[in-house]
């Protein structure tokens, strides 16, 4: 188990290094940092001066090494737009996005668990078909359009929730729904398939034959085992949601990493964009690493590779 964990950790670190290099090069090749620092309407010689002064004329690999060194020391540079320390800026916004990501996964589970269990208990009936139809419809609904519909319903018509902002937990309700519903279908399909499999397993038949109540069989015996793959999926989906929160956070002006990323992209604020991309990648790598370890701990057969 320890050997497996060490190998996985080494792989995670290698992936983090590769992703940081790839995103650094990608962003640098897409735009001119010197022009962004010099600002709008700068003359060519101003940009050339900035390029020299900031060392942006050196080879990309040298600049990457310098950026990586600074990053490892916790120095993410200074924001070109907000004019503050990027590390502090990012640390300030991270909790909002983490809360949003976690609550969205929980919302998705709260929707998909009952539907997935119902569909598995009554396979190939109208209940099952209704659940599958909901999943197919959910996957086709564009999340930004759904978010606007939520605003119209809950903020404008019913006046229950604030349109945008970050102040209270009420500000998180609509973003959570708009972000979470999109991953619910994947959870539902997995829970349904897992439940159908475990409900047909020998130990469940034994439990039934020994006269346990149906509820006890479903929830205590079948569900527990059907949930193992869901844990892994939840970790991966949380990573996706954090990366995808940029659209939803921007619509609701929820002041997290996604909104920060949107602002930094529109203002060509390279250090901030770079930092958010790196941070979200690292969080994703950490989540999948943890899921691998938890799964290997739950199921020793996975401890190869």
């Amino acid at each position: 188990m320890l050997g497996f964990a060490v190998r996985r950790l080494a792989l995670a670190l290698a992936v983090a290094l590769a992703v940081s290099a790839a995103s650094f090069v990608l962003l640098r090749l897409s735009g001119d940092v010197a022009a962004a620092i010099a600002g709008e309407g700068a003359r060519a010689e101003d940009i050339a001066f900035v390029r020299k002064a900031y060392g942006l004329d050196r080879p990309l690999i040298v600049q990457y090494a310098e950026w990586l060194g600074n990053t490892l020391r916790g120095d993410l540079g200074t924001s070109l737009y907000f004019k503050t320390d990027v590390s502090a800026l990012v640390a300030d916004k991270l909790p909002v996005t983490l809360i949003l990501g976690l609550s969205s996964v929980l919302f998705a589970l709260a929707v998909s668990l009952p539907l997935g269990i119902l569909a598995a208990i009554f396979p190939n009936t109208w209940i099952d078909r209704l659940c599958l139809a909901l999943a197919v419809l959910g996957q086709a609904l564009p999340n930004f359009f759904f978010a606007l519909c939520l605003i119209l319903l809950f903020s404008i018509s019913l006046r229950w929730l604030p349109v945008s902002g970050t102040g209270t937990w009420l500000h998180f309700v609509m973003p959570t729904i708009a972000l979470g519903y999109y991953v619910a279908p994947a959870f539902m399909r997995l829970i349904r398939a897992g439940m159908i499999e475990t409900l047909a397993a020998d130990y469940v038949r034994t439990a039934r034959a020994s006269g346990l109540s149906p509820a006890s069989v479903v929830f205590k015996h079948a569900l527990r085992n059907a949930l193992i793959p869901v844990v892994a999926l939840a970790a991966v989906q949380l990573g996706f949601l954090l990366g995808g929160s940029i659209v939803i956070e921007t619509i609701f002006a929820l002041d997290g990493l996604g909104y920060l990323a949107y602002q930094s992209i529109t203002y060509k604020d390279f250090p901030t964009t770079q930092a958010v991309v790196l941070l979200l990648s690292v969080v994703y790598i950490f989540l999948t690493f943890t899921a691998d370890i938890v799964n290997a701990w739950l199921d020793p057969r996975l401890r190869v590779a």
Binding site: L11, V19, S30, V136, P142, F145, S281
Partner: protein, 290 residues
């Protein structure tokens, strides 16, 4: 031969035509394709023509609506029906092009990893893991914004970023196909590696490839719409459904139809593509029906 037994082809036909989801998906797709191809014939007006005297005309079912503009006009007086019809072009073009680019990259990687195994497999798996760790929406937004949003840039960026699912699925499918007798037989007859891969392996994993291709096409269409909605994808005045929703956002409180029409079109197209993908999976492997 017992004449009462249905042939394989007849059974396949039965499965295809008996599949409600697949048929619904195909029907919607046919309409969408017709809109995209025959847009100049179907659209009642020029989608770019601004009639500033007829701005924000509501659709025909509302009190001030007129048959001249069945779905109304936008804030610049452009005919909404015409823009919606032309929007199918943008979405389908993006979906297909991104699917082709990412499909080519991902399938090549997956085939190589699954067939050769060993170091090739390790290298491809590492690249896929690294790609999955990148926040794709964020990176795509940043690159498109920095390079400058246009149809070609959006297609290139999404195509170069979204090959991961192709690689993962094709790798697993190739690993399974590699162990089959027909691959060993082709090798024994002296066929070259490329011939075995393209002539034997690829045709046998085609159903899986088609399913991933539909999923990726739908996802590319949604991503383009989201990018354009944020103002960082294709640029106005192109009639992209995402862009139309973005432009109508300021009017949605009084004119819900302005976001509802492109939103519904987008949802229906994605729904149809997903239905076709699910349908092909069911028809190709009825025993594995989920």
């Amino acid at each position: 031969m017992d004449a009462a037994l249905p042939t394989h082809a007849a059974m396949l036909r039965g499965r295809i035509f008996g599949h409600v989801g697949l048929m619904t998906g195909i029907a919607i797709l046919v309409v969408a394709f017709a809109c995209a191809i025959f847009a100049p014939l179907l659209a009642p007006h020029d989608p770019y023509f601004q009639d500033l005297a007829a701005r924000l005309v509501p659709p025909v079912w509302q009190p001030r609506g007129t048959w001249l503009h069945p779905l109304g006009t936008d804030n610049l007086g452009r005919d909404y029906l015409s823009r919606t019809i032309y929007g199918a072009r943008v979405s389908l073009l993006i979906g297909f092009s991104v699917m082709l680019v990412s499909g080519l990259i991902g399938t090549t990687m997956g085939l190589a990893a699954g067939y050769f195994g060993g170091r090739t497999d390790m290298a491809v798996s590492f690249i896929v893991t690294a790609r999955l760790a990148m926040p794709v929406v964020l990176v795509a937004l940043a690159v498109v914004a920095l390079v400058g949003g246009s149809l070609v840039v959006v297609i290139a960026v999404l195509g170069l970023l979204k090959w991961d699912r192709f690689a993962v699925v094709m790798r697993a499918a190739t690993q399974q196909a590699r162990a089959q007798d027909y691959v060993a037989a082709a090798k024994a007859t002296g066929a070259s590696t490329l011939r075995v891969l393209l002539g034997e392996v690829l045709p046998n994993i085609l159903p899986q490839l088609v399913v991933v291709a539909t999923l990726e096409m739908a996802s590319a269409i949604l991503l383009e719409a989201a990018l354009s909605f944020l103002g960082l994808g294709v640029q106005p005045p192109l009639p992209s459904w995402g862009l139309m929703i973005s432009e109508a956002k300021a009017y949605m409180f009084f004119s819900f139809w302005m976001i509802a029409i492109p939103g519904t079109a987008l949802g229906l197209l994605v729904l149809a593509i997903n239905l076709v993908g699910d349908g092909i999976r069911d028809v190709a492997a009825p025993e594995g029906r989920a």
